[in-house]
């Protein structure tokens, strides 16, 4: 009887898990498999195996630039997000007036489509946008409009704008989970504000910051809509993939090979990142 009910429990658990597993295998695993197979087939054919799409892309002199660009953009956006989030969260933690409003403001880049955010940033930082007008007419630092859109620093700025909430939210929640007694202890022991921050607070919240920044990094690495409309001549991997299927006829195999390279790189970077994250001495 006991064994029978145990088997039944296992069966019920399995049945309950089924929808989730079906969604995972049907909508993620199987499509990934199709992508892998497609990337190994000659273009437009259903049979035969080839590695030419990988070889072709990796042999292109541009390929290294594309991969480097993708990596450079996402890592610099991640670093900017960390610095910005840290300052923002240290300020918000003191619960200044209207902090609820700022906490919601922090989430706005994540609740609107990236496309719209990019459009607004393009308008704001364009040669006729308010930022350039401010520089030209009020501060008079420059005589010509500064080119921000369609440049690398501009892209980093846009990425940071769009993806910093991941880092900021985790940082803030870690900061608020911090026991105030620890800081008080440091304070009582004669550490000044800066020392408390540098030697007590920051080491304690580093795991939280890193966990959040992983999300920022992953999102930035896979960013698609921003570089698509705001990238100009700079095309990271995702846009490069999309370009392949926009040719007529669509180059599905070439696109799939690039997608697999992208997914592989993502996993590799993620593994390295997790290694750093798990290291106890950080």
């Amino acid at each position: 009887m006991k064994r029978g009910s145990k088997a039944r429990t296992t069966l019920v658990t399995l049945i309950m898990m089924l929808p989730g597993l079906a969604a995972f295998f049907g909508l993620f695993f199987y499509p990934m498999l199709v992508t892998v197979v497609r990337s190994l087939r000659p273009e437009g054919e259903q049979a035969g195996w080839t590695l030419e799409h990988y070889a072709h892309f990796l042999a292109e002199p541009r390929a290294r630039g594309v991969i480097l660009l993708t990596f450079a953009l996402s890592i610099s956006a991640t670093l900017c997000s960390i610095v910005f989030s840290l300052v923002l969260c240290l300020v918000l933690r003191r619960k200044p007036r209207g902090h609820r409003f700022f906490r919601l403001t922090m989430l706005i880049p994540r609740v609107v489509p990236g496309l719209i955010g990019a459009l607004g940033l393009l308008l704001l930082f364009g040669s006729r946008g308010w930022v350039n007008l401010l520089l030209l007419q009020v501060l008079r630092f420059v005589d010509e409009p500064v080119a921000i859109n369609y440049t690398i620093p501009g892209l980093i700025l846009f990425y940071t704008w769009l993806y910093f909430p991941f880092t900021a939210v985790t940082t803030l929640s870690t900061l608020e989970g911090l026991d105030p007694a620890i800081e008080e202890a440091a304070d009582v022991s004669g550490a000044n504000r800066w020392q408390v921050l540098r030697h007590v607070v920051i080491p304690l919240i580093t795991p939280g910051i890193l966990a959040g920044s992983v999300l920022t990094f992953m999102a930035a690495f896979g960013a698609f809509s921003i570089p698509l409309i705001a990238g100009g001549n700079y095309r990271p991997l995702s846009v490069e993939i999309y370009r392949q299927i926009n040719f007529t006829p669509a180059r599905w195999s070439a696109a799939s090979a690039r997608a697999m390279i992208m997914a592989a790189l993502q996993v590799v970077f993620l593994t390295i990142y997790m290694r750093i994250l798990r290291r106890p001495s950080v």
């Binding site: 969604a23 995972f24 990934m32 498999l33 497609r38 609740v111 459009l119 803030l172 698609f224």
Partner: protein, 298 residues
Amino acid sequence: MRRFASFHIDMSRFASLHIDMGLIRKYLRAILNARRLLITTFLLCFALMIYLPFTMIALRSIGRGWFGRLWLPPELTLDWYKWAVEVTNIVDISKNTLVIAVLAVTMSTLIGIPTGWAFGRRRIPGKEVLMSMILLPRMIPPIAYALGVAQIFYRLHLVDTHFGVALAHVAICAPYAILVLSATFEGLDERILEAGSVCGASPVRNFFHVVLPLILPGILSSMIFTFTTSYNEFTLTLMTYGKDTVTLPVRTYLAIGEGYWEVTSAMSIILVVPSILVLFMIQRQVAPEKLVGGFKGV
């Protein structure tokens, strides 16, 4: 204007006296003393940075003849909204977007409830690994599997159907629903359920009168989050849409390509206002922070 000019001179003097440590220390102390002011300025800049892009879009969408170095459009008009409704057929597009989002939310919730229950209440060997597997679609760039989804859906003739696009969205929405709901079920107190059955409630009655009210907030927040995700989803839609299933984000993208920035802006405002309103409305009921976090253990 004068104030800014004097600020400029100060800056240059500061640069020329770079060895004078005393002065630098004085400046630093002044900055420290003005910390309140600094914090206010910082927060103000932050808010401006987030909201100004939308202000620019809003101004662009109601302005006419806004060229050259002008701060505000010289003429106001609602023509671009009229265009958006007439030319880009925004009514139908909004309907598509909503139908797809509702379908995606329904499917994700139906997937999320049983699976979340199993994850939250049952002992599963290798639960952590299984959970990170289920969350994989949110970590791998969507474009990577969107390619496969598109190819499969072409074969199954699911491309350009509302159901097909919604199903593609489920790939991203379902992991989220499972995650949120498993946390909800995990938080259920065993003793309350026992109390229900001790008092003589049948399992069905127990579920409807005890469990459901307790998990309803979790279901609601999962629904809101999946709705937002589907409403804003771009990559997967772009790979599976057709002329009858254009959604708002895709239409906005197409409009940007067509180069009509004013009409695009009008459409963006129509698309964005509901999202921001919903965010400010739900903030008291559910913790909207979960919208971006929720990867416990990653």
